[in-house]
């Protein structure tokens, strides 16, 4: 357990010294070390490989199979699912799936921007408050997200239903026709997404604001920078790593969201997650659903990679590492 025997650099060294009595204990120590590594790490690694990597690989394989009875995948291999995903069906090309994809991208973008707009002042405000209040305020922001997502979305269904104050207000303003609710709609989905992801943006932004170097701000003020300019050149760059971390935490899960569009979006508010899920739970077409899942994975990894690159270029990369 001492650190000295964990520091044998390479196997070559042990081999080069072979023959000496001291070395045989050394190489035995190495075997012990390897066994130790195997014993501690392999149960978890095996668990994740068997119950996550293998299923994911299987899902990818399913995407390249053809659609059999009951939507189950069968041989031969084909790329029909990808054709269908891009809109080619029995009746020629239809834009339905393309709309779903575009809607997912748009909803992700819109809700991320709105989350930033709300979270930025909130995170800043918390740092201006007295130190003993800050943990409580952060907790107040986070606690709603501890309740189950289904329940929170159900709360919004109650609030946005027909004949509620909010819906009445909207119909008085002429935004919706009378006796209609504010859901199901794309608006309700955006609202639900913003509500759901706000804490994930406030926390990293707060961390960034707390570390803010105020000397830079004072320097800017001494140089007669207007408040806006001082903010843009002295404050904003310092919060950028936190902002990027928040964007990763918001945009990626928002893109794959299932619960919120399903409950608040209705048929016209479907996102990619719903498209994928219906292919499996309705038993209609596993290969098509698997193809959608691959698309989602590709988008996720592009997003993660892009954020990492931007984070590294900014030099403040350590916060964006995921």
């Amino acid at each position: 357990m001492s650190t000295s025997d964990t520091r044998i650099p390479t196997r070559q060294r042990a081999v080069a010294n072979a023959g000496g009595a001291a070395v045989s204990t050394r190489s035995r120590a190495m075997v012990m070390e390897a066994r130790h590594l195997l014993f501690t790490v392999s149960p978890g690694a095996a668990w994740i490989i068997v119950f996550l990597v293998l299923p994911s690989v299987y899902l990818m394989a399913v995407a390249f199979m053809s659609n059999g009875p009951y939507g189950l995948p069968q041989m031969p291999l084909s790329v029909d699912s990808f054709k269908q995903l891009s809109g080619f069906g029995f009746l020629g090309w239809s834009p339905g799936n393309l709309y779903t994809l575009l809607r997912s991208l748009w909803q992700t973008f819109l809700s991320t921007v709105l989350v930033v707009i709300v979270a930025y002042p909130i995170a800043y405000y918390i740092t201006t408050c007295r130190e003993k209040w800050r943990p409580i305020m952060l907790l107040a922001v986070v606690v709603p997200s501890w309740t189950n997502q289904v329940i929170r979305t159900f709360g919004w269904m109650n609030l946005l239903a027909p004949n509620t104050p909010l819906s009445d207000l909207a119909s008085t303003l002429g935004l919706i026709s009378p006796n209609m609710g504010l859901y199901p709609s794309n608006f309700a989905v955006t609202l639900g997404l913003v509500y759901n992801f706000l804490p994930f943006m406030v926390l990293p932004l707060y961390a960034a604001f707390e570390k803010l170097d105020t000397a830079q701000v004072e320097a800017a003020q001494d140089l007669y920078a207007s408040p806006l300019k001082a903010f843009w050149h002295a404050v904003f760059p310092q919060t950028l790593p936190g902002l990027l971390a928040g964007v990763v935490l918001v945009a990626i899960p928002a893109f794959g969201m299932y619960v919120i569009p399903e409950l608040l979006g209705g048929g016209k508010g479907m996102m990619l997650g719903n498209l994928v899920a219906t292919q499996f739970s309705g038993g209609s077409n596993w290969p098509l659903g698997a193809a959608g899942a691959i698309l989602m994975l590709i988008a996720t990894f592009i997003g993660l990679f892009a954020m990492r690159r931007i984070g590294k270029r900014l030099g403040g990369g350590e916060e964006v590492v995921i």
Partner: protein, 265 residues
Amino acid sequence: MNKRSFKRGLKGFWWLTMAFMYLPLAVVMLFSFNAANSAAHFTGFSLRWYTKLLANQEIINAIGNTLVLAIVSSVIALVIGCLIGYGMYRHRHRKLGWLIILIYLPIVLPDIVFGISEMAFFVQIHQLTGFLKPGLGTMIIAHVTFEIPFVALIVYSRFVGLDPTLFEAAKDLYATPFKRVMHFMLPTIKPALISAFFLSFTLSVDDFVISFFTSGPESATLPIYIWSAIKKGISPEINAIATLMIGAVALAAIMSLLLSRRRAA
């Protein structure tokens, strides 16, 4: 714009946001005490939905399933994740990049892809071998999978924060490996283990999507029950169950606040 009105504006924005955050929960709680059947109008205070809830065997089963799933999966994840966390610490001088990627995989994979690939896999295995029938067992497997990384990372960061000479001291005092684990390792990482367990437990209770796709007909958890009740048409009973869950969360929040206060003091 002077500084004072700016600060006041921020304060107003804070309270507005708080209203936004708590309004949906407040509505759910309010309507759980509604005397009427209607979800739109509050007609008077009543506990009828709570008494109905206690008589509903399906809900009692769902509560049982939720707890069994959360406790069993957290315990398994704690053992496996703890081993990985320690292994990562002890062997961190080696190239363990593959292990790190493997551990981050359950975290970055979108829920829906996670849930669906597990479901497709379990269904296929069940057809071929008869094992892994969708139900509580498959749900536990799925939950352990997404809990392991959190346990491993918490335990790892606890070990990294320790003085490495402590490990040598334990060895120099001729403690056997078993004794070292029992008298040194476990007691020192106890706080990490407790917080990892509670995090796993919360993650498990909070999860809907992965549970939904890996569940069987008889293993509905509370979120799944609520989901299907919403889909079938809204019953005021949902408000009552949801209120109980919100209450449990509020209690946990207050407890964590008090605990962190005590630790700070």
